[in-house]
């Protein structure tokens, strides 16, 4: 595996149930450190499943996932959970934040589960405030309950949460699908800035190819996923 490679997937096979057909059948896929990759494909093409495999939430039936020198598939469940907490930030499509926590509480959430990220963040509260400010979220919003924020504000807070403690990889699962085009562009701009600032790799999943040009590389999942082709 080349030194600048963060993630490498080889001969990956996965089905949600043993008696079901494979959802993911990838021969090879990799991400370089600091790279911004746009992964696209229609609904049901296995995008979220691939993210779950990379995040260690699911274990491949076959093949290997090498992440920053660690073979993820060789780790047991709790170790994969710890690995994810330490090295991966996640942004969802919507309902990204816990509605009963305030914005700051949501942003520092990963540091509650990862000592490594808490250490990297230094002062967790301070780091969360800096990230929220960098994501252009008004200070008056920080102490509000997440449920009181607009979708756009929630997405920016979710991006701050994914970036706290400088994880090596940020997974974004269609985070702009609920935003209009102006807000979507503004969000992407802020996200790129902070990902670059943290030195993280971004794997951005979407079915909206209009965004693709803004990324370093574009990958069509149906083209590399043999399972999708078979379907």
């Amino acid at each position: 595996m080349p030194a600048d490679q963060l993630l490498e997937l080889r001969d990956l096979r996965f089905a949600w149930r043993r008696d079901h057909a494979d959802v993911i059948a990838l021969d090879a896929f990799s991400l370089k450190a600091g790279e911004r990759v746009f992964l696209y494909g229609p609904s049901g093409s296995g995008k979220s499943t691939l993210l779950a495999l990379i995040a260690g939430l699911a274990r491949p039936d076959r093949g290997g996932i090498r992440f920053a020198g660690t073979q993820l598939e060789a780790l047991r469940g709790p170790a994969r959970d710890r690995f994810r907490a330490d090295h991966v930030g996640v942004i969802f499509q919507q309902f990204n934040l816990l509605p009963w926590l305030d914005v700051l509480g949501n942003v520092i959430l990963p540091c509650r589960f990862s000592r490594l990220r808490a250490e990297r963040a230094g002062s967790v509260q301070q780091s969360a405030r800096q990230l929220l400010a960098a994501m252009d979220l008004d200070q008056a919003m920080w102490s509000r309950k997440a449920g009181d924020l607009s979708v756009g504000q929630q997405q920016r807070a979710a991006a701050a949460r994914a970036l706290i403690g400088a994880p090596e990889l940020v997974l974004a699962d269609e985070p702009t699908s609920a935003l209009d085009s102006d807000r979507r562009d503004a969000f992407l701009g802020l996200l790129f800035e902070q990902v670059a600032s943290a030195g993280a790799t971004l794997l951005f999943v979407s079915h909206d190819t209009a965004l693709a040009d803004r990324f370093d590389r574009q990958v069509s999942l149906p083209e590399i996923n043999l399972a999708g082709q078979a379907a």
Binding site: L57, G77, W100, G105, R112, F113, S114, D173
Partner: protein
């Protein structure tokens, strides 16, 4: 600590449902604690009332009945003990002291007891405590009356006040001994026993006010004028009394004397040991107590099942929340622990609130118990075994939470970062 903080915030978010669940559990705990505390307090109150008495001797009757009417003013005597039989008991070589009592009169619904100075000297309550006077002294004049603490407090009496005694019991009496006005010579210190709810006059006075009465009716032209009665005080000896409390030189003699009195040929007597008779009473009331306990336990189980229902109902609504936690590094066991923590917080809050409600209710119920049984009951800290039961209930709350926790654990494993239905 992190998980606890998350559990706390999550609960706050669902505060209405959570408060309702806590109140449900609290009410069930309150019922359980109240049943136990009232039971314990009432039992202790009964034991406190007869702590220094070795035997109670009355006419032939059921032991429990004799105990209830002679000491607690519950029920009525059916027969009397002749004065000669009383003297036989009082003069017995094993007997250290006796407190004769004559019942049948009342004042404003409170029981009037005819007795002797021996009552103030020998009667013991609680931890062998002697009676004390809050104000005044025992009998001096024939028409002196000593009133219990609650009687004085409720009726606003003080030493020197003059009162009339009514013939018969109850609040309303058609026949008053108003031709023999009594003067309050003393007010007893509080005891938390039926003593507080009684008035005490001398046996001679009791005899004086009943001279000329036959069959519960005063015969016109008969009887003694007060001054006349004072002059004949030494001769005013009753023909019979209701019962007598007996203290022995040595407790070892109690069984022998009891048997002797129960076999007394000239008159049918019943001699009882108060402690043992109370045990008989508890056996009678025990069935009802057990039923109450079972009902209370069922209510607690219902409360816990209510919590389970609430947790299960919210589980579906919270799958997205759990997926977010998982994506941010939470392990499945931490998600499960979150639910167990929540259930623990709800149960413990319910238990604490329940104990407080029970204590508050006991404070409110105390006057009723005092009026009905003459027993001073009050809130007290749960005993060690009761704390153990409350601990077990808290544990049961955690065990109940294992059901939704296990479901959440399994779902978070299959859901991953998105909710799969």
């Amino acid at each position: 600590m992190n998980l606890l903080a998350l559990a706390w915030h999550s609960l706050l978010n669902r505060r209405f449902t959570v408060v309702m669940t806590v109140v449900t559990i609290a009410l069930s705990i309150a019922l359980l604690v109240m049943v136990e505390q009232l039971r314990t307090e009432v039992r202790e109150g009964f034991y406190r009332s007869v702590s220094g008495t070795d035997l109670i001797v009355g006419a032939r009757t059921a032991p429990v009945q004799l105990l209830l009417y002679s000491v607690f003013g519950l029920g009525s005597p059916t027969n009397n003990v002749s004065w000669s039989s009383y003297r036989m008991v009082a003069d017995h070589r094993s007997v250290a002291w006796t407190i004769p009592i004559s019942l049948g009169d009342s004042h404003q619904g409170y029981r009037v007891t005819g007795t002797t100075d021996a009552f103030f000297e020998h009667f013991r309550y609680g931890d062998s405590q002697a009676l004390g006077f809050r104000e005044g002294r025992a009998f001096d004049d024939l028409y002196d009356v000593v009133v219990g603490y609650q009687v004085a407090r409720k009726l606003g009496y003080a030493v020197g006040d003059r009162i009339a005694i009514a013939h018969g019991g109850g609040n309303v009496s058609l026949h008053e001994h108003d031709d023999h006005p009594f003067s309050i010579s003393g007010v007893l210190a509080p005891t938390g026993t039926p003593v507080d709810q009684s008035l005490y006059i001398s046996l001679a006075a009791y005899e004086a006010i009943h001279t000329g009465w036959r069959g519960g009716v005063h015969r016109p032209g008969s009887g003694l004028a007060p001054d006349e009665a004072r002059q004949q005080r030494e001769q005013l000896v009753p023909e019979a009394i209701t019962a007598t409390l007996v203290g022995l030189h040595t407790r070892a003699a109690v069984f022998g004397l009891q048997r002797e009195l129960n076999d007394y040929a000239p008159e049918a007597l019943t001699a009882i040991m108060p402690g043992i008779t109370l045990q008989q009473l508890w056996r009678i009331t025990g069935v009802a107590e057990q039923v109450l306990r079972i009902v209370a336990a069922l209510v607690v189980i219902t409360g816990l099942l209510g919590m389970l229902t609430v947790l299960m109902t919210t589980l579906n609504e919270r799958r997205r929340e759990m997926a977010i936690l998982r994506a941010n590094g939470a392990r499945p066991w931490q998600i499960a622990a979150l639910l167990v923590f929540e259930a623990g917080l709800i149960t413990v809050a319910g238990i604490v609130l329940g104990v407080l409600i029970a204590v508050g209710s006991l404070v409110l119920a105390a006057p009723w118990v005092l009026d009905t049984f003459g027993l001073a009951v009050g809130p007290s800290l749960p005993e060690a075994w009761q704390l153990g039961v409350l601990g077990l209930i808290a544990l049961a709350g955690l065990l109940v939470a294992l059901v939704p926790a296990t479901m959440a654990y399994r779902r978070t494993l299959t859901d991953g970062m998105q909710v799969r239905t």
